[in-house]
């Protein structure tokens, strides 16, 4: 039996526009996604901002009701049996918030230990264990308001696993954390699997998903557009080529013409100070450097490079596909 199961899960939000003539709009945040996560697996939900990752996770942890479809965690339906689900899961999200700033880390953990049913006799030992695990031992009596972003995030993780949940949901846990801190956090997440947890991780960092996840579902505009192991996803773009061209002032019209070229699968533009980096993914069957440069005629062009596609390219190809 899968530990987490989502079957044709949908969630629609209602919003309004206008002041005098108010108009109601339905926004489909999640459009029928299905996936399952097995015991001991680290499963990644990968997608750009607004793709529906957080909405999906919030339905799975019982914070939101699905508009339709079904979801089960450890066999318990998230709509009919939220209390049983809540007892068995841990939820960690990224960012500065979610902690009581005026309390010490120890008091924060003591509070949540009580709320999540850690018995009084075990609380001190368990709090010491998780503080040790996240590397905050010795700093637990300081107020959280003096903590760095990385320390707060480690405290978030400590809080999420305090009651020893079987399943841990991590919603963009490394967002805004510096590279060294993020690397430590990723190690911590990997360690959760070694102690037998099942983890569902949402992120929009490709390398993070690649480094951590056993399997990944790529989500875009509320739908799963690709699913598999990192190697399988990379295989989707195997044989292709990526051409990177530094340009100065490329417009939408030219980009449209490049997209229309035979063999081009995806085109993205990264803004880099004065210049832009044009990234063109192709099928690899044809050499497209010359046709690309021809389309850029009249535009100042800098460095041109061609390389093998990475997992990030596979991801971009999936989320930008029409």
């Amino acid at each position: 039996m899968p530990v987490i199961e989502a079957i044709d899960l949908r969630r629609t939000y209602q919003t309004t526009t206008g002041v005098i003539r108010r108009k109601r709009l339905d926004v489909e945040a999640v459009r029928g996604i299905s996936f399952s996560v097995e015991k001991g697996e680290l499963f990644g939900l990968l997608g750009p901002n607004g793709a529906g990752k957080t909405t999906t996770i919030k339905m799975l942890i019982t914070l939101l009701l699905p508009t339709s479809g079904e979801a089960r965690v450890l066999g318990h339906n998230v709509v009919d049996n939220p209390r049983e689900v809540r007892k068995r899961i841990g939820y960690v999200f990224g960012g500065d918030r979610g902690l009581y700033e005026r309390l010490s880390a120890y008091d924060n953990l003591r509070y949540f230990a009580e709320l999540y049913g850690v018995s009084g006799s075990k609380q001190r030992r368990r709090i010491d264990e998780v503080l040790e695990l996240v590397g905050l031992k010795g700093r637990e009596n300081e107020r959280v308001e003096g903590y760095s972003r990385g320390m707060r995030q480690r405290l978030h993780i400590a809080r999420g696993i305090l009651h020893d949940p079987e399943v841990v949901f991590l919603d963009e846990p490394t967002i805004g954390v510096d590279p060294v801190g993020a690397r430590d956090l990723r190690q911590m997440i990997a360690d959760l699997i070694t102690v037998g947890k099942t983890v569902l991780l949402t992120t929009h960092y490709m390398f993070e998903a690649d480094a951590l996840c056993d399997r990944i579902a790529v989500i875009a505009k509320g739908e799963i557009v690709g699913q598999g192991t990192p190697a399988e996803l990379k295989g989707n773009v195997a044989g292709g080529r990526v051409t990177e061209i530094e340009v100065f002032g490329v417009g939408e019209e030219i980009l449209a013409r490049i997209r229309a070229l035979a063999g081009v699968t995806a085109v993205t533009v990264e803004e880099q100070d004065q210049k832009q980096l044009l990234i063109v993914r192709t099928t690899g069957e044809r050499e497209l450097t010359q046709p690309l440069l021809a389309e850029l005629d009249g535009i100042e062009v800098g460095r041109v490079a061609s390389r093998e596609p990475t997992l990030e390219d596979a991801y971009v190809a999936l989320v930008t596909a029409e």
Binding site: L65, R86, L99, R102, Y111
Partner: protein, 257 residues
């Protein structure tokens, strides 16, 4: 049952700790009740002479408790939302009411300071010596008043959660409650239509208990009514909270989206 009491106790302790650690809030908590008490003392001394200042001292003390609770209670859920902790509290396998009640209880406890502060202020500055006839009932009356104000605050907290201006509603209710609960003027002086509102409010009976205990009346009846109304507010609050939470999960409000 023991677990629920533990949650209540620890949550109350930690919220008192948090509330007492803000220098600004602390300063306000010290100054405001004394300011209110001073205004009330001057008004009544001018109008009635110094003989009526004892009851006014008591009234100013209870006004302080209500002042300490009204705004923090009405915006309690919003504050948790700003902290980013609301979702974590909702997703905890506990009754959310059990988690929220200690917040208003803590605010109410902080308000207890107002009683001590106001009475000391009254003695030092205005020479009011208060002799309490039934000290036990006086203490019970204070505890019951704290409980009923905390419960009323809990009901406000869950009722105003949908409003972005919850704190403003709490602030707007501050003076009307002083008036309608008979803190400064007797309820009997209010228009007839306001009497049922006064009777339905726990602080009215809490105030009456404290007065009766201080001046040797019959405090038991109002004491029981104060506690009963605290129970009624809690019951209604729990039902409202259930409705609010169900709605929040359906409509993705409460920052649950």
């Amino acid at each position: 049952m023991m677990r629920s009491l533990r949650v209540l106790g620890l949550a109350w302790l930690l919220h008192v700790k948090m509330m007492s650690r803000s220098a600004f809030d602390g300063l306000m908590a010290v100054i405001w009740p004394l300011f209110y008490a001073t205004v009330a003392f001057f008004m009544f001394r001018t109008g009635h002479g110094s003989s009526s200042l004892g009851p006014i001292g008591l009234a100013a003390a209870v006004m302080g408790i209500w002042t300490a609770v009204s705004v923090p209670a009405s915006s309690a859920l919003q504050r948790e939302r700003w902290f980013g902790t609301l979702e974590l509290l909702v997703v905890a396998p506990r009754n959310l009411g059990l988690i929220l009640l200690p917040i208003t209880l803590a605010a109410s406890t902080i308000g207890l300071y107002c009683v001590a502060g106001t009475l000391i202020w009254a003695r030092v500055l205005f020479g009011i010596h208060l002799t309490i006839i039934h000290p036990l009932f006086f203490a019970l009356g204070l505890i019951a008043t704290v409980l009923t104000i905390a419960s009323l605050g809990f009901l406000m907290a869950v009722s105003f959660v949908g409003s972005r201006r919850a704190w403003a509603i709490g602030a707007a209710l501050e003076y009307p409650i002083w008036l309608v609960c008979g803190f400064l003027v007797p309820v009997s002086l209010l228009p007839g239509w306001a009497h049922p509102i006064s009777w339905a409010l726990g602080p009215t009976w809490g105030m009456r208990t404290i007065r009766e205990a201080a001046y040797g009346g019959a405090p038991l009846g109002p004491l029981l009514l104060t506690l009963a109304l605290a129970g009624v507010y809690l019951g209604i609050g729990v039902v409202v909270l259930r409705i609010v939470l169900d709605s929040a999960r359906k409509r993705a409000t409460l920052s649950l989206a």
